[in-house]
Symmetry: C2
Subunit: 276 residues, 2 copies
DNA sequence: GCCAAAATGGAATAAATATTCCATGAGCGG
DNA sequence: CCGCTCATGGAATATTTATTCCATTTTGGC
């Protein structure tokens, strides 16, 4: 790889750009490597930066940045920047502005609180997008779809998630049982080796859920856990673990990310079962 | 208002900018008015546009844009753009890139579905931020907090929202009753004139919720409805209506925005009751 | 309908920014 | 250690972009 052999074509999208960056970065000489690293870590600034800005950020002279643009397949910096400016979907500034306005209210005014919850929800979703483990979700889908029926366990703050999933699965004709704890009946006896269990729980983990997972494991059921990862007590051997980090606001957790995972699972299961 | 008397100081934030735009726009002559309108409707493009771009978009010559920048209090376009570029928190390109990558999978792969749900959730939250009615939320908070206890009604897909609210209110020591329909008991008899009712329902509106609201109205209870606005059957006389538009993905609705409103209400009520 | 004040458009100029080029230095194989 | 190739930095240049200025048009008051 030398500076002579540059790709003939420019990346046509930010994805293509990211891919090419990944491809080329390892074989690049020092200065160009610095450019690649800096650009990679500051993709959002490219649209609003000058050559000089980027050069300074990367600790290289402007001419190095120019060379970098060229080996990436662009005629120069301007062409590269055009890609970033066009693709830039926009941070919906109306949204941002409005959010600030809402937040201006007194600390406990409904508007200010709403702004916080909106922000927590959005942050959770964005984090989920970057952290989601597709492989784990594939595995989870297979295991849950393979069961005769699906047991849903989620109490306290996980209960809304479990109940929405129960609703979705029911709508798609997938047999599911929501373990609600209603009437203090011990529904866990219904779990058999043919079944699949989805346990949803977050710190502080409710004892009912942990017990239910232990029982299900003993019975030989397929188990998937939707939890917050860090040393979750349901992350036993043989359990497929899906982790979701939610952003809290005050004492209350946004459920946005958890719900997104739950719904994606539900629809994937429904599709796989061919019942939709 | 003439072009002579321009403000001495430049807005220091996008908020301040938006406020000033609002202030000044009405009294502006034709061309500058066009600039103001165009900029106001394209705040997200300012950071990545040139004077010529904006001028073309607004249908005015570049010099008009320059004058516009100056009457807004900036020394020129560059200074104004700097404000936009700095504030430009960024569309989290990692997030955007990752989302595209997820979506690349087959239509029903869990990853692709997850991307859709994440996007629907985020879109819902952003829309909520711009459309939320603070006054209505204030009113709703007062009415709900004033009741002896709060009845929560939400079935089918609204049930997760109602149940999370029940959880939150319980945690804050606010008396609340979740009308679950379990056991086919008619819990609605519990509603008295001293109470407040929060009805959560979306098209197709469940009959139970509509009936419950009608009964509560007859009993003289304070009623708040969290619904999707367009001719909702629970928007009766005397009912405080909070509208939330969710973005659907396929057959399933994101609950992100609805949950954000619900949680903001819950915490506002808890605070008002002084129990937190 | 005339006059003054304000607004406008476009061309001229200034400034910022991108891009090229080449002399120099570093690294590598023989 | 020499010679070759490739990488590098900086200065010179080209291009784009912002900004000013002023002649002309429009507007509003009398």
């Amino acid at each position: 790889m030398t500076l002579q052999d540059r790709p003939a074509d420019a990346p046509a999208s930010l994805d293509a750009f990211a891919r090419r960056l990944q491809d080329m970065a390892p074989g690049l000489p020092k200065r160009l490597r610095q450019c690649a690293d800096h650009v990679g870590r500051n993709l959002d600034r490219v649209a609003v930066s000058t050559v000089a800005d980027l050069a300074e950020g990367a600790g290289v002279p402007p001419s190095a940045v120019m060379r970098f643009c060229q080996i990436m397949g662009f005629s120069g910096f301007s062409e590269m920047q055009r890609l970033f400016r066009e693709d830039y979907g926009g941070a919906r500034p109306d949204y941002a502005t409005r959010l600030r306005a809402l937040r201006e209210g007194a600390g406990s005014s409904p508007g200010a609180l709403l702004a916080e919850f909106i922000d927590a929800g959005r942050a959770s979703l964005e984090r989920l997008a970057t952290q989601a483990n597709e492989t784990a979700m594939e595995t989870a889908t297979h295991r849950l779809a393979a069961g005769r029926m699906i047991h849903l366990a989620g109490f306290r703050r996980a209960y809304p998630v479990a109940s929405y999933m129960a609703y979705a699965l029911e709508r798609m004709g997938v047999a599911a049982m929501l373990h609600s704890g209603a009437g203090h009946l011990d529904q866990s006896q219904a779990i058999s080796a043919d079944d699949a269990v989805l346990a949803i729980t977050f710190a502080p983990y409710s004892a009912e859920t942990v017990d239910l997972v232990a029982l299900a494991q003993k019975r030989g059921a397929r188990i998937v856990a939707l939890t917050d990862g860090v040393a979750s007590p349901v992350a036993l051997a043989g359990v497929t673990v899906l982790t979701v980090e939610e952003v809290d606001f005050g004492a209350f957790r946004s459920l946005s990310a958890t719900l997104a995972v739950a719904m994606a699972l539900a629809v994937a299961i429904g599709t796989r079962r061919g019942t939709v």
